[in-house]
């Protein structure tokens, strides 16, 4: 039932609006709307009940194990939510003077300082609104750097074939063409191919380490040298920072610029799609190009640095300062974790991934990189299962839903066939991991004994398997009243 279907004409919810409609005769008729928009006309209870019941149709971290690779679905502490929603913090206008926001700005400044340390970078800007915007920022900074040196012939961004889709898409948005670098047999970038690819056209390389294949790029120092030697710069996709928090810093690996996904590593909620926050860190070379605003602390006062004091900045990426409420949540999380807690995140997310990989391998599943350590995530390929039973990765994913587990990331990275990218995160207990492994084992057995059971999954969710093809062919993107 859609909210529109419980709506009725003439119903109105008068506690939520001014008690009467004020006069608007000063707005000439020609500017005015003639017909009311199709918004629901429901009581407060009807709305509340409708959306409460809808919420119950979601899987979420708060209700289910959610080992979605590359997404770092870990516990989102409730304190972060509560403290970011204190009335004074919620009520502050983005253009309120800095004098009225010293408490808020102190949090932002301290967050910048912590992120600098964690990434090994010289400076951080908190402003990008998500990972992809952070990527855009980083690559735009690389471009601004080359441009600032009059080095305008560089037109290519190198991207490993295992990269997340946002990497090539970002390169395009920054006006670059994309050159893919293949992955070697063991999951590292193919160094020879890289060497062959770099050259005077190379603006930079986008890399995440550990990679989306769930392994640490062992030749990172050499890669950095190769790219730098060719005059290119290195961009670090920080989506996998959880794996190395407090263990190794991207700055030390040779990266020039990095984005972080605070909605992953710093546990701010994913909110069914967002918001996130994608702060960017830069080394001294790229620091002048950071987007504004950035917080500074001088003479006991916090204030914003803008394009006026940072004339080389690539500029602004959003109307205000960034996703402040998300940044506040990340700040609270960082204070709760502290220095040691950061390291532990890397340790236990890695332990969990390696444990699951080992147990799944024992249970007969094929690891994509059996000779490698898993980072905080790892890949299994279900190709053999498919060959033997006709059951594909998507079927197994759907069947997991029946067993009360959210599916891992499927069919990404693209180079591994029938793949599951599994990221348990550090906040899950061994019993939960064991339960998931049992469920996988059961499903593999079902695939042999009763494949229809698996192919017909899910059976217990609010809807059965949805017809995606029809969704795309017979577009139905909004509700319309019958009459």
């Amino acid at each position: 039932m859609l909210i529109f279907e419980i709506s009725k004409k003439d119903r109105c919810n008068p506690s939520q609006a001014p008690l009467e409609k004020a006069a608007v005769e000063k707005i000439p008729d020609r500017f005015r709307r003639k017909q009311r928009p199709l918004l629901p006309q429901v009581s407060e209870l009807q709305a509340l009940r409708h959306y409460t019941r809808l919420s119950q149709q979601n899987f979420s971290i708060d209700t289910h194990f959610y080992p979605l690779g590359s997404c770092t679905m870990k516990y989102n502490p409730r304190a972060c939510n509560r403290l970011a929603m204190l009335p004074q913090l919620l009520g502050r206008h983005p253009y309120a003077p800095e004098t009225t926001g010293q408490g808020f700005l102190a949090c932002m400044y301290e967050l910048q300082e912590m992120l600098k340390d964690i990434t090994g970078m010289a400076a951080v800007s908190l402003t990008p609104l998500a990972g992809a915007q952070g990527e855009f920022t980083g690559v735009a900074m690389i471009r601004a750097y080359h441009d600032s040196r009059g080095d305008t012939g560089r037109s290519e961004i190198l991207v490993p074939d295992a990269a997340h889709g946002t990497n090539p898409a970002t390169a395009t948005m920054c006006g670059y063409s994309v050159r893919e670098i293949p992955t070697g047999r063991e999951g590292d970038v193919d160094l020879e191919e890289l060497k062959a690819a770099v050259g005077p056209k190379t603006a930079g390389l986008m890399l995440t380490n550990p990679s989306t294949l769930g392994v640490f790029e062992r030749h990172i120092t050499e890669i950095a040298r190769v790219v730098h030697d060719a005059g290119g710069l290195l961009y670090y996709d920080g989506a996998n920072l959880n794996a190395i928090l407090g263990k190794v810093k991207p700055g030390d690996m040779g990266f020039d610029v990095i984005h972080m996904n605070l909605h992953k590593t710093f546990s701010t909620p994913h909110g069914g799609g967002g918001p996130g926050a994608g702060p960017v860190g830069a080394n001294e070379t790229l620091q002048p190009f950071l987007p504004v605003p950035v917080v500074t602390h001088e003479g006991g006062e916090y204030r914003w640095l803008t394009e006026i004091s940072l004339p080389h900045s690539i500029g602004r990426l959003s109307a205000f300062m960034g996703n402040a409420g998300v940044l506040l949540r990340a700040y609270v999380y960082a204070r709760l974790l502290g220095r040691d807690g950061m390291q532990r995140v890397a340790e236990f997310s890695t332990l969990n991934a390696n444990y699951m990989a080992a147990q799944l391998a024992k249970a007969g599943f094929q690891l994509a990189y059996p000779d490698r350590r898993a980072s905080h995530e790892f890949i299994i390929t279900l190709k053999q299962l498919k060959d033997e039973t006709g059951v594909i990765a998507m079927d197994v994913a759907k069947r997991l839903l029946d067993k009360g587990y959210h599916a891992p990331t499927t069919y990404f990275p693209l180079l591994v066939p029938e793949c599951f990218l599994i990221e348990p995160t550090e906040s899950e207990d061994k019993d939960v991991l064991d339960g998931f492994i049992d469920a996988m084992t059961e499903i593999a057995a079902e695939a042999k004994d009763s494949p229809e059971q698996v192919k017909g999954a899910p059976h217990t969710t609010p809807v059965r398997r949805l017809d995606d093809v029809r969704a795309a062919r017979q577009l139905d993107l909004r509700w319309r009243p019958r009459d």
Binding site: I27, D62, T100, G272, V463, R478
Partner: protein, 466 residues
């Protein structure tokens, strides 16, 4: 260990299963020389009580102000139910709904949102959000250029929010797109056809039309839309969703309506929160939907024929189309959209209209009182929605600071972006700024201005540039 559930026994059993004797061993593929030491700039951990206290103190430090600033972010009443439901774990801690069958809650909310936004803007379809209003405008420019195919020049009047113009510039210029500005009428504060004349003939991909514009002024959207279409340019509308409860929807502008509509969703249930998270929205005609950036939800049926919802048209997106995607956007502002959907459901058409009308009425009341003082005057003579530009006889900065001392944020200082307007401020009174607040503002403004009239601070300060 905060947020880590492992017991000693678990750790032991897990290490055994992996076949290593310490967790440290699991990091042995990282070259030793890269390993870092302690994070010296990250302070040791605090417990939840300590952090709570810290945050309460910081929040107290910032305090409450009576706010008359708008300029792109508006203080509206948000029903308590909105965030009480939005922060339910099932919405709050879910990912993007990739597994549709396990995400019907979020997906249906998005479908309902798309329906509401399409109707509010008078367009065919809406996406499931972009980052914010400014970046949505940038995406609209990119989309217009992709759609138009021939032209790469886009007209953006200076009545568009100055930061939106900056952001659009930061985002689109790497793709060889030219942004051309259009000056505004000194008298009306709006964009006049005359100012567009010089661009006739040139290849234009789109004209951006803000309604209301940054000055709060209502633009002649019908004429502008028709002009653009006559010159084979698309129309990108930038609108305030609350204003749309009163104002003609972009889909009905001119003879054919706008082609792409974007805006800042914040007024629909997002708290001001120092600037975010908010969300951008985008709507367009059905014909252009395959050029839209961002997630889109569609209704379909399941294996048993029952209706259900799923992400659709994913072939536009980065995870499928990679370097050929319509945008690199991945994570959007989903939770804010959930809030907006609930917000709109709670207000309904009548409620939203009352909010809009009250904003308008409060702003007019404020303007009447303020301009009754000597030293305060309206700059533009055109009708406004809920914001207006005032010119002051004293330096705007000093006046705003004096008001701040009285607990009032008196408006947005326009001198940085529009020095040509003199000592001008942009004021806004939403439905939350009733008589009491307006009277308080008026009272203090009167005191401040008359003090300055009688006793100007000092000779140097009389210079408006100071």
């Amino acid at each position: 260990m905060p947020f880590i559930p492992h017991t000693e026994a678990d750790i032991k059993a897990m290490l055994e299963a992996v076949g290593v004797d310490s967790i440290e061993t699991l990091f042995d593929e990282i070259p030793a020389e890269l390993r870092c030491g302690e994070l010296t700039n990250v302070p040791p951990r605090m417990n939840e009580f300590e952090v709570t206290r810290l945050m309460l103190e910081r929040a107290e430090q910032d305090g409450y102000y009576i706010n008359f600033i708008g300029a792109g972010a508006y203080e509206h009443h948000i029903p308590a139910a909105v965030w009480e439901i939005t922060t339910r774990g099932e919405f709050y801690s879910a990912y993007t709904p990739y597994q549709a069958e396990a995400s019907q809650g979020t997906l249906q909310v998005l479908y309902e949102f798309q329906t509401m936004m399409a109707s509010l803007t008078g367009m065919d379809v809406a996406n499931a959000s972009l980052y914010d209003g400014a970046s949505a405008l940038a995406e609209a420019v990119l989309m217009a250029v992709r759609t138009h195919r021939k032209a790469r020049r886009v007209l953006i009047p200076t009545t568009v929010h100055p930061v939106y113009r900056q952001v659009t510039h930061s985002i689109v210029t790497n793709q060889d797109i030219e942004l051309l500005s259009v000056p505004f009428s000194k008298q009306g504060g709006h964009t006049v056809l005359d100012a567009l004349k010089s661009h006739e003939g040139g290849d234009l991909a789109a004209l951006v039309i803000p309604q209301p514009n940054f000055f709060g002024v209502l633009e002649d959207v019908d004429e502008l839309t028709n002009w653009a279409h006559r010159h084979n340019a698309l129309v990108i509308a930038v609108v305030n969703p609350v204003a749309l409860a009163l104002l003609a929807p972009p889909g009905e502008w001119g003879d054919a309506g706008a082609d792409i509509v974007v805006g800042e969703g914040q007024p629909l249930g997002a708290p001001l929160s120092s600037g975010g998270p908010y969300f951008g929205f985008m709507c367009c005609r059905q014909a252009h939907v395959r050029q839209m950036p961002g997630r889109i939800v569609g209704r379909t049926v399941d294996a048993t024929g029952n209706p259900g919802f799923t992400l659709t048209l994913q072939a536009r997106e980065q995870h499928i189309r990679r370097s050929k995607a319509t945008s690199n956007i991945c994570t959007n502002q989903g939770l804010l959209v959930t809030a907006a959907t609930i917000h709109m459901a709670l207000l309904g058409p009548e409620g939203l209209e009352r909010v809009a009308a009250q904003c308008h009425a409060n702003t007019l009341a404020l303007l009447e009182k303020l301009t009754a003082m000597s030293g305060v005057e309206r700059v533009f003579d055109r009708p406004v929605f809920h914001e207006a530009v005032l010119r002051l006889s004293s330096p705007a900065n000093d006046v705003l600071r004096a008001l701040e001392g009285q607990g009032i944020l008196g408006g947005y200082n326009l001198t940085q972006y529009y020095p040509e307007l003199g000592e001008a401020i942009l004021v806004c009174a939403t439905e939350t700024r009733g008589h009491e607040d307006i009277d308080k503002y008026t009272f203090h403004m009167e005191r401040i201005m008359s003090k300055r009239r009688l006793d100007p601070p000092c000779a140097v300060k009389a210079n408006p540039k100071d």
